[in-house]
Symmetry: C2
Subunit: 404 residues, 2 copies
């Protein structure tokens, strides 16, 4: 009899028929005696369509106006879902991010949620209403609309679930759960029954695309049970749980691949303290997320620094890096926009040595050249050429026995 | 050097190219040294598309959710216009109705504006920004989104112009101004250089479709100079001014025709006080606008009451009328959904007797049967069959010499 937060992605809401089918699913959950809060994404390709619309006007528009524009997508779908629930005879009410009191830090296009107005939502739940909230958006303290960036609706759902002390947060998407790797690349990819927050976090950050990493991070912090499942089938999805509740049989749980990486290198930087800080703080100030970072000291006390960013940030990142390179009297800035990052993830890795070297061997045997390596407790990532990425994933999936 | 409020309709903003062209026009006005506030409608057919979208989910959705949905159209166009102005190197800022502090009475789908936050807008104008405001929308005191109904963007523009003490309010549309009648019906229709508020009010209410009547009403109240002109040409439009400044040469200024009228009759109502009040207060409570009303006392002290409503309100109006008829023990309720109202409008009419009878003669000669008649100081309206409407307009336009 608790609160259940359900999030439906764009594919699940792509047309009126699917919206009606989601309404049916929401009503089922309601009928089982739960209070239901629904978070929606924009319908189908709406966000991409809005982006291509503004690109006809401006290549690089003000982020404030971009957020103003994009936030309409979720507003449309929350109103329509509410209508669909009404027409089945149930009570529902839609809220924009602003109306739900979702206050953000105000960074346009990449905002983080600071607080939500749970009281307002709880009040409507008490009136037996399904509350539907536009995902991906909030407002800053000056009522300026800010979006949370791609995948932000997942974050909206988890933050709401945490704030409302929900029993469960269900993420409905177009896949049946979390797989050992992308089933479109490896036909033998298997659905995982459960996975730990940490593993999911690595998989999510690494481009598994099922769940936004910030959402997983937040679920982990609040120990909120999270389920990823399909809105198109009745099959059970994947449960995301704390580490201890999962038996570790295999060192590797899943293979992730991010095909939209780009690499920047800054060559022959004088080796003195504060060099890296200066570069990366400038990138951070422009809200560019840097992923892998490698630094090598060469003869003569000069450094080569290489790092990766997402391809869409590449242009801005190169500009900033060149500016910093000039100041630091570095030799040169190189970049490569066609990189991919392939990773093995597994909480079981910590207790089994040699997993990384197994990975390097497998890649070598598949003829895949490794450009950068970075490791954490539960993952090993290799930067490779984008064209090799499918081959790399297939060879690793086989090597670590994930099809069994 | 004053403030100019410009409103651009959906056709003027139908695609990225047109939005850029509107941006050019706004910048021109800005360059002439004015502060510019722009009010935008939704792009092209967006509103109709959103309506056909929700109709696939619900025939008769909650008006709150309908407003939530429809208000996204204007939000999209204000963000895009702002981007287009930025990309030309000028400063601009878009506001939703809520952000501009447009507070309404809260009647969904037909809200009236109670106040606006002029201080917030003036503050941005002082920073040399063009302020772009989503028309057609506001919020009630609980931050619920309410739309102003069709044509509501005109009202937004005029209310803003009044609140900001603007010098001028320009309504940009797809026609070059106010014509003696619809040029699509009468090829000899002429553009008027000027027209009085009162005449425009009659023309607007009667379906001339150039300007929303509430907008004219509000302009009249604040003696705000209003110009209707085309965003597709450089031609001067029509100025709408107080009566006294216009020379009256002809008794009739224009012919209007509303083809979407519907008539309801309630027969043999017992003649006692309060009967009409009971009927029309029930219709008003449901926000149904009643236009013409006629009551005849027949032999035996029973009344026949006939009235017209817009065709889209007909179904609800008939239901209410039948309910009231039963209570009042009336004989029968009849309705006709294919009526049209043709009207002659002119401030010069008051000083020239016989104008009405000239109208009736012209219609008779054209073979048009008159079903109801209603008159005001500056107009005469006849309810006729919808199929006769074009014929009627042509005969009247000729009779009153408007092509000369």
């Amino acid at each position: 009899m608790g609160i259940i937060v359900q999030k439906y992605g764009g594919t699940s809401l792509a047309n009126p028929e699917r919206i009606k089918s989601v309404a049916g699913r929401v009503i089922e959950t309601k009928k089982r005696g739960n209070d239901v809060v629904v978070v929606v994404s924009a319908m189908g390709d709406t966000t991409d369509e809005l982006i291509s619309l503004y690109k006809k006007i401006s290549d690089n528009p003000s982020e404030r106006e971009r957020d103003m524009l994009l936030s309409t997508g979720e507003q449309v779908s929350c109103a329509l879902l509410s209508m669909a629930i009404h027409s089945r005879g149930y009570k529902a009410l839609s809220f924009t991010g602003a109306q739900a009191g979702i206050i953000t830090d105000g960074v346009y296009s990449k905002a983080r949620i600071l607080q939500i107005n749970s009281r307002k939502i709880l009040k409507e739940l008490k009136k037996n209403k399904v509350v539907i909230i536009a995902g991906f958006q909030g407002v800053n303290i000056n009522s300026e609309i800010t979006t949370l960036g791609r995948g932000g609706s997942d974050t909206t759902a988890v933050v709401l679930a945490a704030g409302l002390k929900a029993e469960l947060c269900e993420i409905y998407t177009d896949v049946e759960g979390v797989f050992t790797t992308d089933p479109r690349i490896v036909t033998g990819a298997k659905k995982l029954k459960s996975i730990s927050y940490d593993e999911m976090l690595e998989l999510a950050s690494l481009g598994a695309k099922v769940l936004h990493p910030r959402a997983v991070e937040c679920a982990k912090e609040y120990k909120l049970p999270l389920v990823v499942r399909s809105s198109f089938s009745r099959k059970e999805g994947t449960v995301i749980l704390p580490k201890e509740s999962i038996e570790k049989e295999r060192p590797v749980t899943g293979i992730a691949c991010d095909k939209s990486a780009a690499k920047i290198s800054i060559l022959s930087v004088p080796d003195r303290p504060g060099v890296a800080a200066q570069l990366f703080s400038n990138l951070a100030k422009s809200n560019i997320n840097v992923d892998m970072i490698i630094q090598n000291i060469r003869r003569g006390r000069v450094n080569d620094i290489s790092f990766t960013v997402s391809r869409e940030d590449l242009k801005r990142a190169v500009e900033i890096t060149k500016r910093v390179a000039k100041k630091l009297k570095a030799d040169e800035v190189l970049f490569d926009r066609n990189a991919a990052k392939v990773s093995i993830v597994g909480a079981g890795m910590t207790s089994r040595p040699g997993v990384a070297s197994e990975m390097f061997h497998a890649l070598a045997r598949a003829g895949v050249n490794i450009d950068m390596i970075s490791t954490s407790e539960i993952k090993v990532s290799c930067l490779i050429e984008a064209k090799d990425s499918d081959k790399a994933v297939r060879s690793l999936h086989k090597r670590f026995g994930l099809s069994k």
